[in-house]
Amino acid sequence: MSVIKEWVFTTDHKRVGVLYLIGSIAAFVVAGIMALLMRAELSAVGPTLTANPTTYNVWLYAHGAIMILGFQIPALTGFAANFAVPLMIGAKDVAFPRLNAFSVWLFYMGVILALLTFVIPDPPDVLWTGYPPYSTITTGNTALYTFTVLLIGFASIIAGVNFLTTIAYMRAPGMGWNKLNFFIWSILGSFVMQLIYVPVLGTAVLLISFDKYLGTHFFDPTMGGDVLTYQNLFWFYSHPAVYVIFLPFVGIILEVIATFAKNRIFNYKAAVYGGVWGIVIISGEVWIHHLYVSGMPDWLRIGQMVTTLMISVPVGLITISMVGTLYKGSITFETPMLYALGTVVLFLIGGLTGIPLAVTSLTVNLSETYYVVGHFHYVMAVAGTLAIFCGVYYWFPKMTGRMYNELWGKIGFWITFVGANVIFWNMMSVGVRTGLPRRYYDFASFPEAAQDQYIMSMGAVVIAFGFAITLINWIVGAARGPKAGDNPWESKSLEWTTVSPPPHGNWPTPPKVSEDWSPYAYEKR
């Protein structure tokens, strides 16, 4: 009993981090099952698993909303940030530990609200985007969507305030800004974006519920409203949300590559000031590319085509740092490194296939087809998930004090990696070849896509096996794995200088760093 009490009332950043991880992995499993149900439905033309399109549309809503709001954002800015940031900067805890505990329980409320989708009689069927007028006229429960977003968004804002303060004021004495782990910068950039943009999303979804339940007319053209206002507000947050996910995940990848190549990060300042801050600055000027076929003025589409294409500069600089860090390294291939390198490949494919989508004249054909779904699953869904898994494996010995099984870790990686490519490569391909639209319960008007759909559904089964192996490996490792030691990866970063698992307060005496300290100081003396 006292163990449960300890976890429920904990203010320790590491435990809060683990709570975020457990909640987000639970959300991931549920949303993953939704994906399997959809793939089963789409394995052949016509109704297969359910005869009711609304059932399918609810799966579609739950998959998107829970994966993004319940899994990826909390796993990266909740779990990874909470667990690693104070340890990396040599702090005892975050700046506001109680606020931190409040934020994780808000997140749990949000996840529980999202899961209510499966028990209430009229679940939301508004996709994770909730576009009006459909979201205001559907019999589905749009309010559930609104309040899920608001709760998790509020958790995010609190975490943002907390982490910006922590990083600004609680670094170990002697740790200058240019000595921070790249991961710290990525979290900083991510939370700056959350603080700027989440309130806009909150406003947008709240106005939908006002329209639907209080009789206002913000999005009702017959009463002077405008349907596009919502889309602008929504994507003003939701495109930056992609970078909220993207930045921490490249942060994890770069840490892991540096550790397993035993090298400093190649051209660190370019990756930080050009890469992270370049993305933060450009992130707010590209959202129109989600509205390329929504009747936006032609000049606006051209302008944001240019800004969207320019995202390739910061992303390119970060990619060069990833690849350059391997140069003259001493590379070993433990499971975290496999995940890191796999993520690099997936995010290269996903990032580059985004370039045609930046071009408004190509998007008139590609948008809302399977090509788009394939693209963003590569760059955000699969690359992001593999990066999260990479982080869990990387910090696993620090978190639990134990080691996972290396062989099963690698088997899980390869199965997941192959399955992901089978699904999403075919998805992009079928989108371009046939124009098959996304969000279709039944693809009766595209019979030529049947074979691809079947292959994709098989890929989904493969990927599910990979994930299951990974999850079991973690649970078994945490319970019965061999003792890991304090620094199994021989990393120079500060989080590996304390014992595993670190006690409350992290170090007996708070660390100080010297003039020539660096988290990547692998030079031989």
Binding site: P53, N57, P133, Y134, I137, P221, T222, G225, D226, V227, L228, A261, K262, N263, R264, F266, K269, A270, G274, V293, S294, G295, P297, D298, I302, V306, L309, M310, S312, V313, G316, L317, I320, V323, L326, Y327, K328, G329, S330, F333, V345, L348, P356, A358, T360, S361, L362, V364, S367, E368, V432, P437, R439, Y440, Y441, F443, A444, S445, Y522, E523
Partner: protein, 263 residues
């Protein structure tokens, strides 16, 4: 240069700035008078696909080479490389930045060029109004003829659709013509396409509009000009004699006219 102006000031500007595709995209007066946006799409797609493939393969090969070359093994003690010199760091920032920007602007220039053609509707055109609803496409021809889910058009004439919606947002997608645009309540949007040969093409909805979204499909039926004219006159006569719309009447609200720029 004069003939380029047909596709708008932007096209002229891009041609002047030296886009290599200028001559391919802009048809000459002697040959094909009307630019086909679908063919333009295919061409631009091939260019961008080549571009991203080259970049992806270059990065992937570099990664695989480095991973293989610097793997830890007996006799190879790597790691611990020092920081870049200031000069190298600046070079590794500025040069890639310019390469990426150059590629961005190359793609943007070509994209803009095609965009001007895609959004500039030829003057000699057939103009049809479209009102979408859950779950049908309702077309109204200039002479008052109405059809549902069947867009009959003559071959060889550009077709302009002025679109609105009476309920939720829909998107009128013609995969064979490589074009789509949303139709929304309270706004009027437009799209055009160029049917060249008689035949049938799919119309399908690509904006989630409700429960039966995936069944909201119709057809573009391209007829020979003679067949089309016969059909058009016959249906027009029916409308005139009846005094009311011939085929299924589209109920609901009138499209709200607004100040949307007309093509």
């Amino acid at each position: 240069m004069q003939r380029h102006c047909k596709y708008g000031a932007g096209a002229t500007a891009m041609t002047a700035s030296g886009s290599v595709l200028a001559e391919k995209y802009i048809p000459t007066l002697e040959s094909d008078k009307i630019f086909d946006p679908a063919a333009g799409w295919d061409r631009l797609w091939a260019i961008v696909l080549t571009d991203i493939t080259v970049m992806g393969v270059a990065f992937a090969l570099a990664t695989f080479y480095l991973v293989w070359k610097y793997r830890r093994r007996p006799g190879h003690e790597g790691g611990g490389v020092g920081p870049l010199t200031a000069g190298a760091a600046i070079a590794w920032t500025v040069i890639p930045t310019f390469i990426f920007l150059a590629d961005d602007f190359y793609i943007a220039a070509n994209g803009w060029q095609l965009w001007n053609a895609q959004r500039t509707v030829p003057a000699d055109r057939l103009e049809i109004r479209l009102e979408s609803g859950m779950y049908s496409w309702d077309y109204t021809y200039p002479n008052g003829v109405r059809t549902q889910n069947e867009l009959k058009v003559p071959a060889g004439k550009p077709v302009l659709l002025r679109m609105t919606s009476r309920d939720t947002i829909h998107s009128h997608y013609l995969p064979d013509f490589r074009v789509k645009e949303d139709s929304m309540p309270g706004r009027i949007t437009y799209m055009w396409f160029y049917p060249k040969k008689p035949g049938e093409h799919l119309v399908t909805c690509t904006e989630y509009c409700g429960v039966m979204h995936s069944y909201m499909a119709g057809k573009v039926i391209v007829l020979s000009p003679a067949d089309y004219n016969a059909w058009y006159e016959q249906e027009g006569a029916k409308v005139k004699s009846a005094g009311t719309p011939a085929s299924p009447s589209a109920g609901g609200a009138k499209p709200t006219e607004n100040k949307q720029k007309s093509a």
